[in-house]
Subunit: 734 residues, 2 copies
Amino acid sequence: MKTFQLLSFVTKGAQLRYLPNCLRSAEIFTSSLREKLVPEWGSKKHASKRKLLVNTNHLKMDAEIEKQLAPLRARVKEQGDLIRQMKTDGAPEMDVKKLVQELKSRKKELEDMTLKLYPQDFFDRAKMNDLIKRRFFYDNSFAIYGGITGQYDYGPLGCDLVDNMLTEWQKHFVIQERMLKVNCSILTPEPVLKASGHVDKFADYMVKDVKTGECFRLDHLIKQYFEKYIADKKVSQEEKDEISRKINLLDDMTMKEMDDIVKAYDLKSPSTGNNLTDAVEFNLMFPISIGPSGNMAGFLRPETAQGIFVNFKRLLEYNQGKLPFACAQVGNAYRNEISPRSGLLRVREFTMAEIEHFCYPDNKSHTKFNQVADTEMVLYSACAQMDGESPKRMTITEAVRGGLVANETLGYYMARIQQYLLKIGINPKKLRFRQHLGNEMAHYACDCWDAECLTSYGWIECVGCADRSAYDLSQHTKGSGVRMSVERPLKEPKIVDSVVALPDKVAIGKTFKKDAKVVQEALASLSSEAAEDMDKTLNEVGECVVNGFKLTRSMVPAFKREQKKIHVEEIIPSVIEPSFGIGRIFYSLLEHTFRIREDDEKRTYFALPAVVAPIKVSVLPLSNKTEFIPFVTQLADTLTDLNLPLRVDDSTGSIGRRYARTDEIGIPFGITVDFDTVNNLAHTVTLRERNSTEQVRMPIDEVPLIIRHLADGKLQWKEVTEKWPKFVAQETTK
Amino acid sequence: MKTFQLLSFVTKGAQLRYLPNCLRSAEIFTSSLREKLVPEWGSKKHASKRKLLVNTNHLKMDAEIEKQLAPLRARVKEQGDLIRQMKTDGAPEMDVKKLVQELKSRKKELEDMTLKLYPQDFFDRAKMNDLIKRRFFYDNSFAIYGGITGQYDYGPLGCDLVDNMLTEWQKHFVIQERMLKVNCSILTPEPVLKASGHVDKFADYMVKDVKTGECFRLDHLIKQYFEKYIADKKVSQEEKDEISRKINLLDDMTMKEMDDIVKAYDLKSPSTGNNLTDAVEFNLMFPISIGPSGNMAGFLRPETAQGIFVNFKRLLEYNQGKLPFACAQVGNAYRNEISPRSGLLRVREFTMAEIEHFCYPDNKSHTKFNQVADTEMVLYSACAQMDGESPKRMTITEAVRGGLVANETLGYYMARIQQYLLKIGINPKKLRFRQHLGNEMAHYACDCWDAECLTSYGWIECVGCADRSAYDLSQHTKGSGVRMSVERPLKEPKIVDSVVALPDKVAIGKTFKKDAKVVQEALASLSSEAAEDMDKTLNEVGECVVNGFKLTRSMVPAFKREQKKIHVEEIIPSVIEPSFGIGRIFYSLLEHTFRIREDDEKRTYFALPAVVAPIKVSVLPLSNKTEFIPFVTQLADTLTDLNLPLRVDDSTGSIGRRYARTDEIGIPFGITVDFDTVNNLAHTVTLRERNSTEQVRMPIDEVPLIIRHLADGKLQWKEVTEKWPKFVAQETTK
């Protein structure tokens, strides 16, 4: 019982005081503070904002397809409207929650059908995986020891691609936005993750084979069983529909609901047919014991964010006490997935890049917002999801001014995230920002948008962008006893009532001995509200507890009450958090840039933009004759001196075959050294661009700097073709 | 009992066959293969090579000091000579080992006295640590939760400094040498680290407080006790000398020898005075359980090297089957230190950058060796250490041609390591390469040199550069059953005797059922030597074991003997490994660049080279007047567009104070925007260099590109001062 928190300034009232405007009217939810943080995604206010001036030209619908989708859209809307009505009527939370489950199921049906009906680019995952494996972009870790699921090693190409993505990330965010950066420990003591909520809440449901002990993630197990079940021709269409609906609901089921399914359908272990244990919660963090004694429990960090939060005070000091500022961290994080699958999308060890932008809760404007004001984005709002509507294209200004996106800073980052993703090669037609529905939002967030990429696994979350309000800093304030706050000068001094405990130092000294100092410090740092409460409790009960120490009236005989003039207010900053799953972006990028040549389906390649391509240029001598060597060597050395990773392919294959080999691994430019280079006084070479396979002819001396500029994005291929004469040659792999 | 290894081509003979020349005559050691890998560091051959033409001008000794050191040098040499004699006489290994311990103790005495007598640069560690902490270069992790020993968080400056060091490393090694690069899992299953030797051998000795369970690293505990013991005035000089000698011997003591000291001196827990347990070996790896079942044991990797080794086959394939090639990996590694101390020098979580250069064991020449041929280095050979001599300065060519450094590739990397360290700012006067003595070399290395930096903690190992021979690939071949070898075409085909087992498939099928296939594959892949051995064993004993399966004569009734013509030989490559401890280099760099201004001892700063400085340039407006703002903003934006991290300091402090503040954090260049900038048509600014505090005057338009070139090392400050007029101004912090 910690009746009187050292840090009682983090009271419900204080926290609400700094709630962003978007949450002020979120009073439709009832019980606790937690619900108060859920935004008004279903309220009429939002509904009215749907009439924004939006540009939908880019999403022209096929009338025939829309006719097929119409009943599904209607089903979603019907449920959405029902939920709104229930809320307006003040229905119990549990009832609303059930309706939301049904809503999600209907949404999923709509989405699946949409993906099915609208023509997708043809994509051959097996072909891509073959290329990935053959050229060692990545592979299962420890393959020679039989491999290990959920862990991957990045080979030379994958490793360089990730590094280039991160270098670009660093330029785009850290340098351009002048962010701070930290690199914090991965081994994390338990109290830190207790405070953050991970020790208690970061879990999946699991069942075990009662005999072999094999573990199964419960939702995956049920899904797998159901999918097999409805594949049976004997099952009636009605039952199939019923079960499909259940599959769609799985994400939101409680442990008990899932356990009930296991029992109702008498599910067994798929490997052995043995019975299964009851479901348990399995914490996804890897436990670790720090030091040799076994006394310091810890975990591998499940995210990089916490390292920034625990250093907030030092970072604020570094920033000379000024808000707003942002701090970034790139590094590994770990989740002990129960049964990892879907390749790179669900792994045990992964790289994250996170930004924590700290700002005043009552001022979330952004000074550079005007620089992104016209950015057009595809936004899939919570309301649109509830109404069975499609995502809408609009500018970020429209979204923020209309209240769809909670504030300028959140909107600014969403636009910047999009710019980044497009720069590295994500297909704009396969990118959308989806707003979280109320009940899937993390318990701290007050508005959250996921940048989702469309892949052959469906729409997958690649970047989260959340306004986490003051949640994290409040939690660490409570957990550590250090005030994670900032002082802001008041425009005018304020007179406040002050209540201060006047302890009997002798009595406290006698009782607590060496702890006396701690007790006295705790009393001295009580807020006025807490001191007032304590006085009352001592009057009523005769004793109270402060930081685990039991105090009696005789130890704190009196309280001093006076009026005080204060010049600053203490504020816990809000946090806007863009959080990047690098492995998922990497995988989406591979899918989005995978190509098959129209004229030869064996010729596959990655159309990676030069800025992230692992190798920027190839050098291909047409002959192995000795007179070619000095040209090739000098060219390669000059390119290397410009820090351009390159590949010299002097093998004996035809030039077409060598082009194919360099295309495969995404090399954007190829230089061919031929007999004209060697014999002609102009010493020209051909320069070829991978996607168009166009070639131009230019002097060998000029080509290295041109490649450097192309690789930096300072020069476009079109400009090169305009300046230099085209070179026409047959390109054949025969 | 695995009498017949699947992979018996890794026999003693085969391995020795590919031993580098430097090891061929190392027959003075007796027992096992392990000793055969220890080079001839004490043999006469080396002694004769000491007469190399070496340039010692740079190490002029002070005659007076040398007189004092002479007896210590003589003591070392006496012991070194004794050891050589013992070896020549074929004395037992244990006896030699004891003498080596004494040798090390004498070496340490000599080194301590040398450091004491030769004047060192004045260095104030407390002042540096104050600056590090105050400006948040790094700090204890989780400080708000009381901190944690052996783990550090890098703040914005430390983080950028490390990143810049690594970017430069990437350019210097990976791009310039056209290396491959991988990024592998940190969570490592046990069998991988069993094969590498870490599960069995990677341990320190530890004792525990019998009551509290507090753990102590045994050598540290004894050292601490002894140091306190000899500080007592009552202890005789004789006993002090005896104990000092013991302290110096600690590194090489066995667990029993240390345990004996605990008993002889009746050591107690320093915290409680309680008794201590007997010593135990404590494995330094962090154990981890992968997945939810608890069945897959693993560890956090203790080094990055293993990830490269286990991927060797894929990397070889990527490199089109050709040797030599090198592969690099940068990443975290973990060691569960018993009682970490010495700040960043001994931590539980650290960044390594490792290179594995794979080459033919019989050809360790390097094509680019001539490019580093004239590099002068300070080499402290094993022989010099044994003779009580000083390190010698010589070119790397002299060292390799004279046989001091085992081969060209090792020498090439040593020179490149030195170039890198000097480029990032390590003080050349505080850098040396020390050759490992025989018995401190890892059990796999056949020559090893450490790049050591002199710090206030003494000479510390920052980079290891070892020829690991074929050890690692052989171990993983045994551990995984996958041949980690390369096929090299023979110049002429060779006729060899071939012995092949002819199993009775029916008998094997009956006995082993589903394992029959494995058994038959094992028999099929036996080497000729192993098959011959098996035939003999079956004749003599009637049974034998293959991969854990017991076979009888009736299962393998016959062996086919024939002569075969072979066209390729199978070779396990050698590995040369440069291995960088990034945290240690980082710390040494801070010490080496820490400066105190001569005219004001309060003004401390880091003289970091521009190429690694976290922030490249500061922008300092002389006034806060509004007409300054557009100049400052545009200048800052232009610098940012050039990817130059910058700091705008528009605070109200005097310009001198602001210079001091930017100097502190190592910003190499400062641009002052003053009234002339604003009012004068030329719009000139001053540009100041941190170390010299010199200033020049130039137009504001030209300054950004000049900073870019300075930061890239493409332009030197001297060139700037020659082109632009000097600007003289008082620099005061008052």
